[in-house]
Symmetry: C2
Subunit: 467 residues, 2 copies
């Protein structure tokens, strides 16, 4: 029986409380589409409210499309919130595309804009001269064939090099288990294409990586948000979701989670893998920020050795987002299938970019670059945290490194309006709601420490906190 | 009423003839899923055969899954042949991936293999030195920012240059109407993602571009093959299909059609556009071989000016398949939407590749390259046609230029087995069936004239024709 904690003396009308509670449960997929709500009389008795109150609450939820009523049979959760088929009515497209606005804004060519909502390090921190040098070296190498189609699975020497790098973090993968992709995006896209069909449901971090949510919505896949704790996914909430749903995949960040900047704990990792085994789902572990972690960190793939875990990463955050070189490491049979999906959807790799990354990985350049980036991030994080403290914003949880600070704005239930105001001042903030699977309101902002030094940002936040 | 021409004296049992005729109509979508077959008695009377013959034919079609019988109601075409939802049972995936084998084989790194089934020009014909030179020039240019994410819509100067090039073939498009993509593949993929949902149907050329078919199958979209005449799509067959189906898109090649190497005639172009208007579908015109056409040719987009036509092309066949630079030209509203889909699915462009192509287009290199390629193609085609004549194969229709010759193997209803035998001799033939929407048998082979000079090929074909 649905049990809602009502506060009769709170000043908020009981009808509003019931509506809000049921909406939240629908949004969070605790009440799933098709679920029947308790009959009016039973709900009223169980909550000690009048039947009239329940009727009004249910009616309002019917009006907003959250419930529908079947004559003589009761009230049911509609499937409205789950676009069962992509592009069914344009709605799925529209919702998916909403997720693109932040990226579109981010890419606007305006050097005066403060990109504090960005997911990447400042371009000035990266080694542009080194990339150009590697490009020149490449243009003189006899084995570079820039006019041939690349190999479908990706440039073999780079895959061999990735085997070495993965071994360093305890993941055993032969080159045959590695598929190169256009960044993590194509990696995730290929995985979706292979595993999912419209109407399926998947688990995602809540908060989590918003651009992935957009792509999943395009597929007409329902998102089940797994709340994030400082130790990783909330395994109790995960278990509760698994009681009602049969997700095929769980997309998660283990190291320097985007946006909360926390790491997965070994105990949580173990529990997540146990649940994956018990409930028969695969885990897609996106490790795009992993190389920037200041300390050793736990990865699901290091425990599970690519049995239920599909591991993806890329060099977009460290070498260049422009080259679009990422990869999937997975079971051999899946690597074969993913390569086929890659052929059918995109034909081949851009081998030249892969050769460039290979060059940078093998000439010792990359290690030095990453050490330098970690140093800059650590310094910038110190400054950013002091600035946030001055304007009264609280990091929550304490970041473990990397580019992000996830900070709550005290007294604000939703930071979307704040972000809109900031945009008018040419400051691009990333409001918490974009990181939530159903764009639920959030009182958080994600800060990129690489863009926090501009005094206009501190001034804006200080002024905003006063009003 | 279904009317089948039976030949009682042909030696083929009447049951077999009926089964074959109905299967063909199901495969070709003349009988669409859910269609009811004539009652046994009516069918028997109309065709002057015994009811027993009809019962046996229908029963066999039930056994093969082409029909199902509903008690007391009759026989219906099953939807078995149309995977309504991608990955429903793995079948859609498997069928889509089948299409990848040719590409996988093509990419196998074996210099001794004769790639006569390839869709690309020999790498040795392309200007590798020129591309490397452009790469070096790029690595010294001050405006090249190889570590920043590219612009979502694509490098603006290249889009401006494409506007000029499109104007030369009579297509008016502002840079805002152009979206850069990873080759034509991503262009087609974005268009699918935006317009299609599982269970939709689309029109495709029959024969047509096979790798697209694989991607469409992955989406769970049904393919309606429009037979190809030497003048373009068979508009009568198209009209017949439109009487029963409501396709959302028609994917077609107008210039140097793959695989038949023919051009669209102006009259056929006009009729196709009329039908698109009347039946409210969009046309996706893939012009990837267009730059290689020896003569002026008709494009749908030049008539329609991107109202119902979405135009795509790339530089994969002329500059390099490795760089993966293609584009979509379309209505401004669609360009905006496609850019958003591109962001959500792949984040951004690989701007470095786009800058490289821009460099080659603007320094006068490209025009000279294309002229040289046309000359080589023309010479190679002459030699290839003489070789095919010697081994008794007939081009059908007469090719109008470009890399392909579509040739019938006399006396062979299906060339698949021939292609398998050739593969054992390290000769990669492209059998006609891979170009057909339902992989129907075909007595044709597609030859790439750039790979026909090897005497092993002539020997193999000569021997095969004798046995």
């Amino acid at each position: 029986m649905l049990q809602i904690a009502l506060a009769p003396d709170s000043g908020t009308p009981l009808v509003d409380q019931i509506v809000a509670a049921i909406r939240t449960r629908i949004d969070d997929r605790i009440l799933h589409p098709g679920a029947r709500l308790p009959p009016i009389r039973r709900f009223a008795e169980a909550h000690d409210v009048s039947r009239f109150t329940v009727v009004e609450a249910y009616d309002r939820l019917v009006a907003t499309g959250h419930l529908n009523s079947k004559r003589g049979s009761g009230f049911y959760v509609t499937s409205r919130a789950l676009p069962a088929r992509a592009a069914e009515s344009g709605e799925a497209i529209e919702r998916a595309i909403d997720a693109a606005w932040l990226m579109r804004e981010m890419a606007a060519d305006d050097p005066a804009r403060i990109l504090v909502g960005s997911g990447s390090l400042p371009a000035a921190w990266l080694d542009e001269a080194g990339v150009l040098r590697a490009l020149r070296a490449l243009s003189r190498r006899a084995d570079v064939r820039p006019v041939s189609y690349g190999s479908p699975q990706g440039y073999a020497p780079l895959r061999a090099q990735l085997q070495v790098r993965l071994a360093e973090i305890g993941i055993g993968a032969t080159p045959g288990q590695i598929v190169l992709t256009y960044g993590v995006h194509q990696a995730l896209d290929i995985i979706c294409r292979y595993f999912l069909k419209p109407g399926d449901c998947v688990l995602v971090d809540d908060p989590g990586y918003w651009n992935l949510f957009g792509n999943l919505r395009l597929y007409g896949v329902a998102l089940l948000g797994v709340p994030r704790t400082p130790d990783g996914p909330d395994t109790q909430a995960l278990e509760a979701l698994l009681a009602h749903h049969q997700p095929r995949l769980f997309f998660t960040h283990s190291v320097l989670h985007n946006p909360t900047a926390c790491n997965l704990s070994p105990a949580t990792a173990f529990r997540v893998l146990q649940l994956a085994e018990k409930h028969d789902f695969m885990i897609v572990e996106d490790d795009i920020y992993g190389d920037l972690a200041p300390d050793a960190a736990t990865r699901l793939a290091s425990l599970d050795q690519l049995s239920r875990v599909i591991y993806t990463s890329s060099f977009s955050k460290t070498i260049s987002g422009n080259l679009r070189v990422g990869f999937i490491a997975c079971r051999p049979d899946l690597a074969h299938r993913f390569t086929d999906v890659k052929i059918v959807t995109m034909m081949s790799s851009a081998e030249l970019s892969e050769q460039l990354v290979h060059q940078l990985l093998t000439d010792g350049h990359y290690r030095k670059l990453v050490e330098r980036l970690k140093g800059r991030l650590s310094e910038a994080a110190g400054q950013a945290l002091r600035m946030l403290e001055r304007v009264g914003l609280q990091p929550d949880p304490e970041p473990r490194g990397g580019p992000f600070v996830w900070a709550r704005v005290p007294g604000l239930a939703d930071t979307s309006e704040l972000a809109r105001r900031a945009a008018r001042d040419n400051i691009l903030l990333a409001p918490g709601s974009v990181f939530r699977p159903q764009s639920q309101p959030s009182g958080y902002l994600r800060f990129n420490v690489g863009f926090c030094a501009d005094p206009r940002l501190e001034r804006f936040l200080g002024d905003a906190r006063k009003t």
